[in-house]
Symmetry: C2
Amino acid sequence: MEELAPGFRFYPTEEELISFYLYNKLEGKRNDLNQAIDRVIPVLDIYDFNPWDLPQLSGELSRKDPEQWFFFIPRQKREAQGGRPNRLTTTGYWKSTGSPGYVYSSSNNLCIAIKRTMVFYMGRIPLGRKTEWKMNEYKVIQEEASSSTGPNPTARQEFTLCRVYKSSKCRRAFDRRPIGMQIGERSVQVSSDEARPSQNPQLMVDGSTFEVHAHENMILPFKWQWL
Amino acid sequence: MEELAPGFRFYPTEEELISFYLYNKLEGKRNDLNQAIDRVIPVLDIYDFNPWDLPQLSGELSRKDPEQWFFFIPRQKREAQGGRPNRLTTTGYWKSTGSPGYVYSSSNNLCIAIKRTMVFYMGRIPLGRKTEWKMNEYKVIQEEASSSTGPNPTARQEFTLCRVYKSSKCRRAFDRRPIGMQIGERSVQVSSDEARPSQNPQLMVDGSTFEVHAHENMILPFKWQWL
């Protein structure tokens, strides 16, 4: 598998998600760029799945992320006709929480997207039980109808972008503990060369092979290549 | 400049920092790997500088990070002789805060490093004024003296690894706002193609050129290359 150097991973800002991934997806003019984007953020009707099935369906270049998973959701027919989207799944439903927020472009401070946060409830409306599964849904701001240039304004609604995450597990990647380790728990043991697992993967760098002290959370989606 | 796809950046876990970067730096056997590591985490005696001068001295592949900056600190002579390191700078000093923590390997739950958090104070001990500049210092656990194999145990102390950050600015990269934008401030304006800045950089993908809706916070340290 192609690998990125340890510590490099897909950890986008909201602005990158909107300005690069969602804008280019909606423009859809470049087949090779689209294929590349699909490997990071695939198109998926997430309402066909339980939230806990989504991580394994996320993009091959970001699938191992233990914190968050990204998808493009195709617009539903009823939504295209002016209705509200159907957010029921087979086991529950997604429900909006709080007020919508906005994402701004840092280059000109324009509002570029609307952000809604949703929580997944198990069961049926209105008796569902709240879960720890959450989602941010981003919708590009529709261009003014008077805009005479650029692509068809309505095309911008063809996909929304969503970020699925678990509220209780959303700890900063930086200081997350090994799985199963409680915070505050200390098992101080002296590390030695012999104690290292021998099945560490090998990395190729400029034709030489190096052992990597790898672990489950390590994400290496790209080819290891220092340029 | 070589570029990484938007949203991909150096955002390491503590374990990656220790198991890959610090361990390999201390082993120091591979010149080409060392050169590669230097481009991400350079060696710097950070006590020769004010903390606010450090971001621009961080590794070329992670310099644009607005949140955190990494360095290898060479061991001081006095520390090698069993003394305490000198953490004075020309304008102030770094002072430990809280108890030391530990970093564990997720593959075998061994403790691989000691972590100390420090705060920068302006002025002279003990009258300094606390600042928002903080640092995590990681020191690899020294191997047992009885270890008969592997490198010289003391070699493992040649460098510590530090992560410098500002406590008030340490917001998750994911939802950080454009610089100068207050949280809750809303300047809703409809985005249009014409409003986009025309000086966006071009990205090369498989020989084709694409415009990127770039912004100051975008980190593109690698060549853009979908493999």
